[in-house]
């Protein structure tokens, strides 16, 4: 069996006295889609930022295709990956097509070729060519997510990260974005890691699920097993119950982030 595309072992991270990750172990095989779920402040975003290299872990190891990233030149930057940020994170100072083609414009491709690819990627996420020349401030929330997704897939990456892809969207647009992500992931055969607390997203996008709770992995398994996890914290989270172990723990302890 090949090594996982991404693997975290014993990853810890603190900000001052606040221990956000307390020894996280998780992995995802190439071509599979993993959802990291958990309440706000449980360390989901910090875990992904550790993988990408935006945050340096205090302890533990992260592997890309079995290679320890701390010993790999360029770290995770050596991988061909894309990321869809929660708010899109498009650059305000440039039109949509330049956002989508940002990496291409810095490569050997000419401006015309980059524009053509940007329009193709925008079409793939359901945006017309007219949108290419608009600025991010002229787009709606759903269009920003689509444009962000177009940027994430612009270089045909092997790994894509999705950070809260449906946050801030109405249920219909959230469903559209979920289907779009699933279509893109299936079509491209990429490895996907999604941070979310939207269970509809999880069921649409993910093959596997990891639930973080207060900086450690509370439960990991197949998405189809979520309903029969046998874990009361997972059941509370999945069903959205106000009462349960997560609420009790949250009322006893200070927040993780």
């Amino acid at each position: 069996m090949p090594p996982p595309a991404i693997q975290m072992t014993g990853v810890e991270k603190s900000f001052g006295a606040n221990r956000v990750l307390r020894g996280v172990n998780l992995s995802v095989q190439r071509g599979r889609s993993l959802a990291i779920i958990g309440g706000s402040g449980t360390g989901k975003s910090v875990a992904v930022k550790c993988i990408i290299g935006l945050v340096e872990p205090d302890a533990g190891s992260i592997f890309l295709d079995g290679k320890d990233l701390s010993r790999t030149k360029g770290g995770f930057g050596s991988a061909n990956y894309g990321m869809l940020f929660q708010g899109g994170a498009l650059f305000d100072s440039m039109p949509v097509w330049q956002n989508v083609a940002f990496r291409l414009l810095r490569g050997s491709r000419g401006k015309e070729a980059a524009l053509q690819i940007a329009i193709e990627k925008l079409a793939r996420v359901g945006l017309s060519a007219d949108v290419a020349h608009l600025y991010p401030s002229e787009l709606s929330g759903g269009m920003l997510k689509r444009a962000g997704l177009a940027r994430a897939i612009a270089t045909d990456p092997e790994i894509i990260f999705f950070d809260e892809p449906t946050t801030g969207l109405d249920p219909i647009m959230a469903s559209v974005i979920n289907e779009l992500i699933r279509g893109v992931v299936d079509e491209m055969g990429v490895t996907a890691v999604t941070i979310t607390h939207d269970m509809a997203s999880v069921r649409t996008i993910a093959h596997e699920v990891v639930m973080l709770n207060r900086g450690i992995v509370e439960w990991a398994g197949n998405v189809d097993d979520l309903g029969q996890s046998g874990n009361s914290a997972v059941e509370q989270f999945v069903n959205g119950n106000a009462e349960g172990p997560l609420t009790a723990a949250a009322s006893r302890l200070p927040p993780a982030t």
Binding site: G53, G82, Q86, A89, L90, F91, D92, R106
Partner: protein, 262 residues
């Protein structure tokens, strides 16, 4: 009493150490930004945009400030000089004062107010909306892409702005001198150039370049390290203007001491 005194020492010591840490952090930040100027890739589009924003769009505010300051300077020197029959010194003192001191310092403070705040707000907003994180995921070094072009643009644009400020300020003094103080136009111009030396102008332009560097580094530093939310960006903007203004005044003293101390 002893406890009160020891508390004062504790607070002073903490403030001193915090100041040292801040100086260290800004120095490392500036060194990293400068180091990117010598290593490809170079982002010419970002440099050009920064040059336009920092240089060209600062011209009106710098020009107006210099014009009125030159005029006020002429009035003040005339009023003061008349006490010991030195009214004729107005043109040369206006020229020397503008070139050596007021041109670069006023230009620096105006640009600090306009540009340091703008850079801090822009980069701070980029920080809180994850645009800077997005740069990293797009294989682009944020310091190279955002900081280095602004440092280069501000350092190059400021001497030009200060030079224009010198000329406009001297012209402001000329307008007031000729129209309000009764100077002969041709003799005013002759006296202006008679005592103005190359060193006066060059020292002012060097000062301006240093001030431009300070404005860009401080603006970028506070923007890149902005805290979350509107409050965080607002604080970054305020800190950028306050820090760069104080640093400009302090550096001006140090450079004046360096250039002109006997």
């Amino acid at each position: 009493m002893v406890r009160f005194a020891s508390n004062i020492f504790v607070h002073v010591g903490r403030a001193f150490l915090a100041g040292c840490r801040a100086v260290g952090r800004i120095s490392v930040f500036a060194a990293e930004g400068v180091s990117h100027l010598a290593r490809p890739p170079f982002y010419f589009r970002e440099f050009y945009q920064a040059l336009l924003s920092i240089g060209f769009f600062s011209l009106p505010v710098v020009g107006l400030t210099a014009f009125f300051t030159g005029g006020a300077l002429a009035l003040q020197i005339y009023a003061g000089g008349s006490r010991f029959s030195a009214e004729s010194a107005v043109p040369s003192i206006v020229a020397i004062g503008m070139a050596r001191e007021l041109g670069p310092v006023l230009c620096g403070l105006m640009v600090a107010g306009r540009v340091a705040s703008s850079i801090a707000a822009e980069l701070g907003t980029m920080r809180v909306t994850e645009q800077i994180d997005a740069l990293v995921t797009l294989d682009t070094n944020p310091s190279k892409y955002l900081v280095a072009p602004r440092i280069a643009a501000a350092t190059l644009a400021m001497p030009v702005l200060a030079g224009i400020g010198d000329i406009v300020g001297i012209f402001g003094g000329y307008v007031v001198g000729v129209s309000r103080l009764g100077f002969n136009p041709s003799s005013y111009l002759q006296t202006t150039t008679q005592f103005l030396e190359t060193a006066d102008v060059v020292s002012g332009l060097v000062k301006a370049a240093v001030f431009g560097f300070i404005v860009a580094v401080v603006g970028c530093y506070h923007g890149m390290n902005s805290e979350r939310g509107a409050k965080g960006v607002g604080r970054a903007t305020t800190n950028a203007v306050a820090t760069s203004s104080v640093l400009i005044i302090a550096t001006n003293f140090a450079l004046t001491e360096l250039f002109f101390a006997a």
